[in-house]
C-alpha cells in the first residue's frame, strides 16, 4: 500500500522500524508470538520501554505527554510495532481511559492518572457490562449513592477483562434512576484494592483466564472519583467506545498474523506431498484474504485522514469494527485448515519447532469468537451503520 503514503511518511516508517527493533527485547517478541493473553509484567515492561522513548501514549496530544504525531504516523507506528511482534499495550489505560480523562477529566485527575497510564505503572479495567446489561448497556444496575465526602458504589460487573490484575476500574454506574436510562449514568474511577471489591475469574473457551466477574459491595470512592459531570456518563462512555472500536479492528495484528500464517502454510507438508501453501484452494483463500485486508487498511487510512482534519471517530468506527473482526476470524479459520489435525490438540512436544506456533493459532481461533461480540456486537454495529449512516 506504498502509494497511499508520502515520502516523509515512508521515511518516518524506516525511522520507527529501526528504533522498535532496537528497543524490543527478543523474549518479549517471542512471548507475543506464542500467546494471546500476555501477563501484566510483560505488557508493563514494553510499556515502560516505550515510555522512556516518549512513545507509550503515542496517540495522545503532545500537551498530555503524547507524541503529537499525525494519525497516519500513529498508524505507521502501530503497524511497525505489530510487525516486530511487540506486545500489545493493555488497551484500557492508554487507549480508553487516557483519552477519556484528558478530554473530560479534572486537572487533578489528569495529573494523578495520566503519568502512570503512560508509564504502565498502573493498569486499568473497564467496568461497563453487567450480566443483564450487555448490548443494552444503558440498563445497567450498578448504582452510585451520594454520601458525605464521596459515593458508595454497589453492584456487579461482568466480563471485566484484566480485572484480576488491574489497579483501577473505570466504572459506569447509575446515579439517577428518575430519568431515562442513558441520562442517569455517571463515570467513576474506582480503586480495585478498595474494601468491597472482589474479583472472580471466568474461564473462556480457549481455557484461559482473561475475564472476571467483579463484585462491588458498598465500595466507597471519594468525590473526585467522578469523571466529568454528574449524569453525563453515557456521553463519555460512548466517546470511549468509539476509540475502542477503531482499536478493535486490530488491522496491524491481522496483517502480521496473516504473514506468519502464510509462512506456516509454506512449511507445513500437504497430504500427498508438497506444502499446504501450494494447494490451489489455499492459494485462492490466501489471495482473497489479502484483498480483504487491503480493504480494511485503506478504510482505516481514510478514516485517519479525516481525523487529521479534526474529526472524532463517528459511525465509521462501526464499519471498521465489523470488517476487522470478521477478518480476524477468517484468518484464524484458514489457520485451522492449514494445521488440520495438528490444530486440534494441545501438545507440549518440545521437539516440534512449530508446536508453539500452532498452539497459539488454536487458542486464538477459539478466543476469536469474541471479536464479533465484544466492544459492541456486530449486530449492534450494523444497526448503527444502517441507522446513522444509511438513514434507514
Amino acid at each position: 500500500m506504498d502509494s497511499l503514503f508520502t515520502d516523509d511518511e515512508k521515511a518516518f516508517r524506516r525511522h520507527v522500524r529501526a528504533s522498535i527493533r532496537a528497543m524490543l527485547p527478543a523474549d518479549l517478541a517471542e512471548k507475543t508470538r506464542a500467546g494471546i493473553h500476555l501477563s501484566r509484567e510483560d505488557m508493563a515492561r514494553w510499556n515502560r520501554i516505550l515510555d522512556e522513548r516518549g512513545w507509550a501514549a503515542h496517540h495522545w496530544p503532545a500537551a498530555h505527554g503524547g507524541t503529537g504525531w499525525t494519525p497516519i504516523q500513529r498508524f505507521i507506528f502501530e503497524s511497525e510495532c505489530a510487525d516486530a511482534d511487540a506486545p500489545p499495550l493493555s488497551v484500557f489505560g492508554v487507549y480508553l481511559v487516557g483519552p477519556t480523562l484528558y478530554t473530560f477529566g479534572s486537572e487533578a485527575q489528569k495529573a494523578r492518572y495520566l503519568p502512570t497510564i503512560r508509564s504502565g505503572a498502573e493498569f486499568w479495567c473497564q467496568g461497563y457490562s453487567e450480566a443483564d446489561a450487555g448490548s443494552d448497556l444503558a440498563s445497567l444496575r450498578t448504582t452510585a449513592r451520594k454520601v458525605d465526602g464521596g459515593w458508595v458504589i454497589q453492584g456487579q460487573k461482568a466480563w471485566t477483562t484484566e480485572g484480576h490484575f488491574a489497579d483501577l476500574m473505570i466504572c459506569l454506574a447509575r446515579t439517577n434512576s428518575a430519568v431515562k436510562p442513558q441520562a442517569g449514568l455517571s463515570l467513576f474511577i474506582l480503586d480495585m484494592k478498595a474494601p468491597g471489591v472482589s474479583v472472580h475469574p471466568v474461564i473462556t473457551i480457549d481455557g484461559a483466564h482473561s475475564v472476571n466477574t467483579v463484585f462491588l459491595d458498598e465500595v466507597r470512592v471519594p468525590d473526585d472519583a467522578l469523571v466529568g459531570e454528574l449524569d453525563k456518563g453515557w456521553t463519555y462512555a460512548k466517546f470511549l467506545l468509539g476509540h475502542e472500536r477503531i482499536n478493535n479492528a486490530q488491522v496491524h495484528r491481522s496483517r502480521r498474523e496473516f504473514t506468519r500464517l502464510k509462512a506456516l502454510a509454506a512449511r507445513t507438508p500437504a497430504p500427498g506431498g508438497g506444502v499446504i501453501a501450494d494447494l490451489p484452494g489455499i492459494r485462492q483463500r490466501v489471495a482473497g484474504l489479502e484483498v480483504e485486508l487491503s480493504a480494511l487498511e485503506a478504510t482505516i487510512l481514510r478514516i485517519l485522514a479525516d481525523q487529521t482534519q479534526g474529526r472524532e471517530p463517528g459511525p465509521e468506527a462501526s464499519i471498521v469494527k465489523v470488517i476487522g473482526s470478521r477478518l480476524q476470524q477468517s484468518i484464524s479459520d484458514l489457520a485451522m485448515d492449514v494445521m488440520g489435525e495438528d490444530g486440534i490438540h494441545i501438545t507440549e512436544d518440545g521437539s516440534d519447532p512449530d508446536a508453539g506456533e500452532r498452539r497459539g493459532w488454536t487458542e486464538r481461533h477459539l478466543f476469536r469468537r469474541v471479536v464479533t461480540i465484544y466492544a459492541g456486537t456486530n449486530e449492534i454495529q450494523k444497526t448503527i451503520i444502517a441507522r446513522t449512516v444509511l438513514g434507514l
Binding site: 457490562s129 443483564d132 450487555g134 448490548s135 443494552d136 440498563s139 461482568a158 466480563w159 471466568v202 474461564i203 473462556t204 473457551i205 481455557g207 475475564v211 507445513t268 507438508p269 500437504a270 497430504p271 500427498g272 494447494l279 490451489p280 484452494g281 489455499i282 476470524q329 479459520d333 485451522m336 485448515d337 494445521m339 488440520g340 489435525e341 495438528d342 490444530g343 486440534i344 490438540h345 494441545i346 501438545t347 512436544d349 488454536t362 481461533h365 477459539l366 478466543f367 469468537r369 469474541v370 464479533t372 461480540i373 465484544y374 456486537t377 456486530n378 449486530e379 450494523k382 444497526t383
Partner: protein, 354 residues
C-alpha cells in the same frame, strides 16, 4: 433405504430411547467435571447392555444386523450429549469391516465387543508422517490422531498392504497421548517393525485396499453424525436461551437480526443432515458414490457446519464464550470433527480433481 429419519417407526423408537437414556445417564458436563466424575469402563458396559455394540453386527455373526442409517442415528444421539466414550469404531466400523472380510481376525472379536469386553479404536495413517505400511509381516509408520486408542483393547490398523486388528496391550508402539480441544483423548502411534501375526490379519492386498476405503468413509460418516448431533443440540439450546434472555426490554429471540442468524444456522444444519442421510444410504451401496457422499458431508461440515455453530456463539453473546457454558464445547466438538479424517480443503481438492 430411507429418505428421512422419520420414515420408520422403529428408527424413531430407537432414537428416542437412546436420547432418553443419554440425557438421563450422561447429560453434557464440562470436560473437567466429566473426567473427574466419569468411570469410562462402567459407561462402556452400560452402552454394551443397551445393545449398541451388537447392532451393526450382521445377523449371521450373531448380531442385530442394523443398517448404517440406524447406527448413525445412535451416533448422532451420542453427539448430542457430547459423549466422551469413543464408540464409533466399535459400534459402526468394526462390525462392517468384519462383514466384508473372509478372515476371522475381526469377526471372532465381535461377541466380546457386543458384551463390552472388547473396545476397538481405528488407527489410520497420517497424511504427514511416514505412512502406515505392512510388509513381510511387519508394521511401520506413524498414525494420524487415533481417538480412543488409549482406552481400546484392540487397534484396527488401516495400513498399506494390510488391514489388521492388533491387541493393544501386546503391541509395542511408541504412544504420544494427546488431549483434543473438545476434551477427548487421542493418541499418535508410531510402529517400528512391529510384527503382525497372521491371526491378526483382517485383509491383505486388494481386499485390504477395498476395506481401507470403506473404513475411511465409515469414519467420516460416524464423525459427521456425532458432529451433527452436537450441532442440533447446540441449536436447540441456543433457541431456548434466546427466548429466555432479555435485552432492551424484550427477548433476544424477538430481534430479527438474531432470528436470521439462527435461520441460517438451521438451514445449514438441515443441509448437513441431508448429506448424512445420503451418506448413510451410500455406505450400503457403490463405493464410488459412497466416496462422493462422504467427501460432500465432510466438506459441508467443515464449512457450513462450523459457520452454523459459530453463529450460535454469536447470538449467545458473552455467555457463549464461557467455558462453563455448553455452546463453546459444541464449537470445539465440530472443529475437532472438521479436522479429523481430512479437512474440507483436502476433500474439496480431491472432489475438484475428479
Amino acid at each position: 433405504m430411507r429418505r428421512s429419519d422419520e420414515t420408520l417407526a422403529e428408527d424413531r423408537l430407537l432414537r428416542d430411547s437412546a436420547r432418553r437414556f443419554l440425557e438421563e445417564r450422561h447429560p453434557w458436563k464440562e470436560p473437567a467435571a466429566r473426567r473427574a466424575a466419569g468411570d469410562p469402563a462402567a459407561t462402556w458396559r452400560e452402552l454394551a447392555e443397551l445393545g449398541w455394540f451388537a447392532m451393526a453386527v450382521p445377523e449371521e455373526l450373531g448380531g442385530l444386523g442394523a443398517d448404517a442409517h440406524r447406527c448413525l442415528l445412535i451416533l448422532q444421539e451420542a453427539g448430542r450429549v457430547m459423549l466422551d466414550a469413543p464408540v464409533m469404531t466399535t459400534l459402526l466400523i468394526a462390525p462392517r469391516l468384519a462383514a466384508g472380510s473372509d478372515s476371522p481376525a475381526l469377526a471372532s472379536l465381535l461377541d466380546g465387543a457386543a458384551a463390552g469386553d472388547v473396545r476397538f479404536a481405528l488407527v489410520t495413517g497420517s497424511d504427514r508422517g511416514a505412512p502406515l505400511r505392512v510388509a513381510a509381516g511387519r508394521l511401520d509408520g506413524t498414525s494420524a490422531l487415533a481417538v480412543g486408542a488409549a482406552e481400546a483393547t484392540h487397534w484396527l490398523v488401516v495400513a498399506d498392504g494390510a488391514l489388521s486388528c492388533l491387541d493393544a496391550a501386546a503391541t509395542p508402539a511408541l504412544r504420544q497421548e494427546l488431549r483434543l480441544i473438545d476434551g477427548r483423548a487421542a493418541s499418535v502411534l508410531r510402529f517400528d517393525g512391529v510384527p503382525v501375526p497372521d491371526e491378526a490379519l483382517v485383509a491383505t492386498g486388494d481386499a485390504a485396499a477395498r476395506l481401507a476405503a470403506e473404513a475411511a468413509d465409515l469414519a467420516i460418516a460416524g464423525t459427521v453424525a456425532d458432529a451433527l448431533g452436537a450441532l442440533a443440540a447446540g441449536i436447540d439450546r441456543t433457541t431456548v436461551y434466546l427466548r429466555e434472555r432479555r435485552q432492551f426490554g424484550q427477548p433476544l429471540a424477538s430481534f430479527q437480526a438474531v432470528q436470521h442468524l439462527m435461520a441460517d444456522s438451521y438451514c445449514e444444519m438441515e443441509g448437513l443432515a441431508s448429506l448424512l442421510l445420503w451418506l448413510g444410504a451410500a455406505l450400503d451401496g457403490d463405493p464410488v458414490e459412497r466416496r462422493r457422499a462422504a467427501a460432500a458431508a465432510k466438506i459441508f461440515l467443515g464449512r457450513q457446519g462450523l459457520a452454523a455453530v459459530s453463529r450460535c456463539i454469536q447470538v449467545t453473546g458473552g455467555m457463549g464464550m464461557a467455558e462453563e457454558y455448553p455452546i463453546g464445547h459444541v464449537f470445539k466438538r465440530l472443529q475437532t470433527a472438521a479436522a479429523l479424517f481430512g479437512t474440507a480443503d483436502h476433500h474439496l481438492h480431491h472432489l475438484a480433481a475428479g
